[in-house]
Each structure stands twice: as C-alpha cells, then as structure tokens.
C-alpha cells in the first residue's frame, strides 16, 4: 500500500520542498536584482532606444497629417494633383505655427538634397499662398514638382520605415518606390562594412601569430621570470588608449623615429620615406599592438595548466616535434585561441578612435561613419541603422563560432 510522504503538519513532502525552494530562489533573486536593474537601465534600454530610432523617425510624419492622408489614398507614382498641393500648403502653415518645418525638412533632406531649405522657405510664404495651390507652390519653388521629392516625402510620411536600413546598405528608392542602388559615387557603406570585416580578421590573425609564442613563453618560463615578462604585456594594457595611439604616430610618421632610423642606416633614401601611418598600414599596426594583450592573456591562462608530460610522452612515442605540437599541444590551446580571437575580432569590428587618428582615408572603419552621423550630420537614425547592422553581423559571427567551436569551450582567463 503506497502512502505519500508528508511533513509533520500533514502537507505532502514534495509540495513542501518545492515551496521551500521557491522561497530560497526568491531570496536569491533579490541579490541579483541590483545588477539586473543596472544592466536594464544603463545597457539594454539605451541600446533598445537607439535601435528603435533606426526604424522609427516621426519628425516628418507627425508634421504632415494632411499629406499622409493623400499618400494613403493615392498609390506610389501618382502625379501630385491640386489636392496634394493643398494638403502640402495646409501642413506647411501648421509647421510654421509649430516651428517644425526645419525638423520635418531635415528628415526629407536625408533622402532628397535641398528639401530642408524648400520647407523652411516655402513655409515662410505658406500663409500668403492662394489657390490654386499647385501653381502657387511651384511659383514659390519649382523643385516641388520633382517626383523623387514626392517619393521621399511619401517614404518619410510614415514614422516606421526601413529606409534608413536601405541607406545603410547603399540602397534608395526611385520615384515609384522601387528599391534601387544609389549612385556609385555615393555608395560607401557596403564597402566600409567589407573593409571593417576584412581588417578585423587580419588584425585577429596577426595578434594570434604574434601572441601565441609570447603566451607560450610566459606559460613555460619559471614563475619569477614569467611574472616579470607579464608586466611587459600588462603595462601597455594599462596605458591609455590615446597615449598608445599617439605614440604610434610619433614612431611611424614620415618624419618619425622609424623613418629617421631607416634613413640614417641607409635602408631608404630621404626622398622615399615610407608612408606607414594615415593609411591602412597605420590602422593595422596600431590596432594589432593595442589588442595584443586580449589574445595573450586568455592564451596564457589556457597554456599555463597544460601538463608538459603530454608533449614529452608524444615525443617518446616517436612523434616529431611538429606532430607533437600539432596533435597534442595545439588542440589543448583551442579554448584560449577561440577566446582571444573572438575578443579581438569583436573589439576591432567596433574600433573607432585608433582608425580615426591613424587611419587617414584608406584605414577608416564603419564605426568612423557611425560617429560621423552621430556627431556631425546628426542623422541618428542612419547611425542607428548602421550600428544595428554591425551588431547583427557580430551576433551572426558569434552564432557561427558557437556552431563551429562551441561557446562552452571559451576560456577567458
């Protein structure tokens, strides 16, 4: 005869246990709560808000209630008629009252150059415009007849839009709303995304090639020597990023230390000083140096506990030193290689200040254009779209890494 176990007060044991555990979990949750709130407020919310900007920009749509109605009633490509111009004039009058013509015009200006001043100047006259409005508006500025402008306004007339993502991929819309690529002489983003990924991969590879032997040396030396060497790895790591970048300028510029030494030693003539900075080479050298500790440290922490007996055993069983390295030592360092490579790659994909200072024209990365749109053009929606694409790209690579090597294998130190 089976009888359920009960506690002293008669509750089934299973339930009592679950209740007790739930209480403990709730208490534990209170401990995590501060960090959770901190992350929500300082990290998740701002990023979420920024990402929202990439698809949501109401600065034009909220200023044009009448035009929005006309756009809803007429399919893309419709020749704007008198009703359309009347709606435009009504909206312009309202904008003049709300002082929103600049903001609305700026939004359209992202897609149609010159729209900003058309909005501000025509809004100034809007009060005096008389029907027929089409004629009156075209009289004020005949650029209003451009179908591309009307398409740009149609695109901006809904607050939610994918147009910023199109712009971030060098795409735009023609007068019928079809997606087309922008002029070759304005296409820049795709190219810079490609260059960013390529340079990041290259920098990751160079840090691995340079960092692996150092980490091995650190891991195999007796502790008192390796600690001393470790300082040399950490010292630059603790130094300000700007100081290190500027030092590279001092070293590498054409009148700099390295060129001076080469000229003095006769390796190059004074007229042919090497251009090692303000171009891609400068970006690669400076970033490799700055990111090197991020490879060395995880590698070191993985190599340190590797038992040297394994390699000795392999050698005693007849393996050449190369085979022993390749089949015994290297596989054991994979978690460190993976961690270091992933860390360096993700950091360099978003690197900004170093390429800005030493990259010249050919060493610019996509982050420099994001900064440009944040700080100079103030087109934050486009900056957000570019950043979102970058974030998406990194997440895809992370997922790939997880599939190929496994994130569980990561060992950061």
């Amino acid at each position: 005869m089976s009888e359920t176990l009960t506690t002293v007060d008669g509750k089934p044991l299973k339930q009592a246990l679950a209740a007790a555990q739930a209480r403990a979990k709730r208490r534990a949750f209170w401990l995590v709560l501060p960090l959770l709130l901190f992350i929500l407020v300082t990290f998740v919310a701002p990023i979420g808000q920024m990402l929202l900007r990439s698809v949501y920009n109401p600065s034009f749509s909220q200023a044009v209630p009448n035009l929005s109605v006309w756009f809803d009633e007429n399919p893309p490509g419709t020749e704007p008629d008198e009703a359309a111009y009347e709606a435009l004039v009504m909206d312009l009058r309202q904008m003049r009252e709300d002082k929103s013509q600049g903001e609305a015009g700026t939004r359209v200006n992202y897609d149609y150059s010159g729209a900003r001043s058309m909005f501000t100047s025509t809004a100034r006259k809007a009060e005096r415009l008389e029907p027929p409005y089409k004629e009156a508006v075209l009289d004020a500025d005949d650029d209003w007849a451009d179908p591309v402008l009307w398409q740009a306004m149609r695109g901006a007339s809904s607050a939610y839009t994918m147009n910023f993502y199109l712009a971030a991929l060098d795409l735009g819309r023609d007068e019928n709303g079809n997606i087309v690529s922008v002029d070759d002489n304005r296409a820049v983003y795709v190219k810079l995304f490609g260059r960013t990924l390529f340079l990041s991969a290259l920098i990751t590879a160079t840090t691995l090639i340079l960092g692996f032997p150092i980490a091995h040396l650190l891991a195999t030396l007796p502790l008192r020597y390796s600690n001393l060497l470790m300082i040399f790895v950490l010292l630059p790591f603790w130094t300000s990023l700007l100081v290190r970048t500027t030092s590279w300028i001092v070293l590498l510029q054409s009148q700099g230390v390295v060129n001076d030494l080469m000229v003095a030693s006769g390796a190059v003539s004074d007229g042919n000083r090497l251009q090692m900075i303000y171009n891609q080479t400068g970006t690669i050298i400076a970033m490799t140096h700055i990111l090197l500790p991020f490879t060395v440290l995880p590698l070191y922490s993985v190599m340190r506990p590797i038992n040297p007996s394994y390699v000795r055993a392999a050698r005693s069983l007849g393996a050449t030193s190369w085979t022993a390295f390749r089949r015994i030592y290297l596989p054991q360092t994979i978690p460190g290689i993976g961690a270091g490579a992933l860390l360096v790659f993700i950091l360099s994909v978003g690197y900004y200040i170093t390429p800005a200072l030493v990259g010249g024209a050919s060493g610019q990365l996509i982050s420099n254009l994001i900064a440009f749109h944040m700080q100079k053009s103030l087109n934050w929606s486009l900056a957000a779209a570019l950043a979102a694409l970058l974030l998406g790209g990194v997440l895809v690579l992370y997922w790939l890494y997880d599939r190929l090597i496994g994130v569980d294998n990561l060992k950061l130190g």
Binding site: G102, T106, N185, V188, A361, K376, S377, L378
Partner: protein, 303 residues
Amino acid sequence: MVDADNPATPIKAQVEAGNVSVDVADVELSDAIRLCDEGLLEEIDVSMLPPAPDGTPAEEDFIEGALTECAVASIVWSTAVAYNVTANPTPPDSIDDFFNLEEFPGKRGLRKGAKINLEMALMADGVPASEVYDILETDDGVDRAFAKLDTIKDSVVWWEAGAQPPQLLADGEVVMTTAYNGRIFNAAVAEGQPFEILWDGQILDFDLFVVPKGAPNLENAMKYIAYSTDTQRLADQASWISYGPARKSSGPLVGLYSDGKTQMAPHMPTSEANLENALVNNFEFWADRDTELNERFNAWLAQ
C-alpha cells in the same frame, strides 16, 4: 563649463531628452541655423543687446549675418592655408599653389569633410569667391571640385580636430595645411613656430552663442550673452587669439596681443588686406546639401 568638440551634438541630445544642463553654447553658423530650425534653441531678442558706444543699435553694429533668430555671433574665424616657412623656400602666394604639387612638393593637410575643401578646390580652379556657391549648386560644379581634389588626393593627410594641423606642420608631416587661423596664430606667435598664413582663399565663419531650449538659467544666460558680446568685450577677446570681433565698433579697439607687443590687427581674418579673396561660408547651402555632399565625400575618400 562643459567642453565638446561640436556642442551641436550634446544640445540635440539634451533637449530631446528633456534634461538640459547647459545654459549657453558656442556653435558654428550652420549648426546655429539648423538647431534653431529644429526648434532646439531659445529665441534671442536682439533688442536686449547693448548698442555700440556711439549709440548705433546692436542690429546695425553687428556684421551682416552675425545675428540670427536664435544666435548672436561673438567671433569671426577663418579656415585658411597655413604653411611652414622652412619647408617652403618660396612662399605660396595664392590658393592655387596649395594644389600645385610640382612647384610646391610635399604633403598637404586637409580637414576630413566636404565643407571648406570643395570651396577651396573651386577657388584654386579659378572660380572667384563670389561665384563659388553658384557653381557648387550644380552637379558639374561638384564634379569639378572633386576633380581638383583628385589632383592632390594621394598627398593628403586628413585631420579632424583643430589641434592637429599645427602639430602636423611642426612635425614636418605636411608642408601646407588648411587650419583654423587662431590655432596657427597661437603656434606662430605664442610658441614661435615658423608658420605663416596664406590669406588668399580663406573661408570665414562665425562662432555664435546660443541658448538650448529649456536652459535651466534662461534669464542669466541672456544677461551673459548681452554682456559678453558688447563692444568692449568683443574687442578684448581679440587680445587672446586672432579671431575677429563680430561687431564693427569693436574693430578700432582691438590692440595688442596678450604678450604686449604683437599688433593683432594684421592677424585678424577680417582686416582689409586679408579680405581680398575671401569667401563667407554659406550656411544655407551646407544645411541643405551636407548629407549628400558628405556621402559623396566619404565615398570618394574610401575609393
């Protein structure tokens, strides 16, 4: 005081977030217009500005374009070509020489951005200052400017912050560079560097005081602006750096540099001799075409 490379960014951020901590900001003309258009600035009542000592009302005393709905100009500065005297045995005497790599070999410094560079390229290509913006309005004009820039593209070192050009000149990294005239003056007079300014083809711009919408101490901010842009104050600031005062009545009061011996007048971008071939930055043009031309500039740069 809050330091920012371009205060337009924090102003936009603060006003949009409804948390304004700045009372007065100093911005460039195109930003003053744009921020005002977007409703991010308080309007400034011109009648509260003190008249000139001789009684001329402020509205007439300020240089044309120095007063706008939301901004009061304090200084006139210029972007001009600066060169290192030791690196240029024969000094360049026109903006054309900046683009002449044969007679003036060596690297050039240019600000990374479309503004200024396109105008200077056209002026070097023989366009008179008064026609620059008319030509730049057209696609052909833009092509022409980029074609001119193409001729020196491989020899350009691009700078972003105003402190870089004097550094590049001092390091010998470039032999000529565009620069803000005050920075070059500072390096030449205060630090004794062998730098000269080529005033031909200089591009003038204003720095203006603005008050962000919702500034915490609105009344004091206005008082500050009225005080700091009166005739004497504007003349006084010129003794610290070679930026011209935005009031006509301040001109005659400009005296010696703070070292007590350098006459400031010849170093002012606004002095008569320096204005022979000068262009005043057209803010309307740039507020309109900034996006398009910078996209094209960035694409051109990345090629």
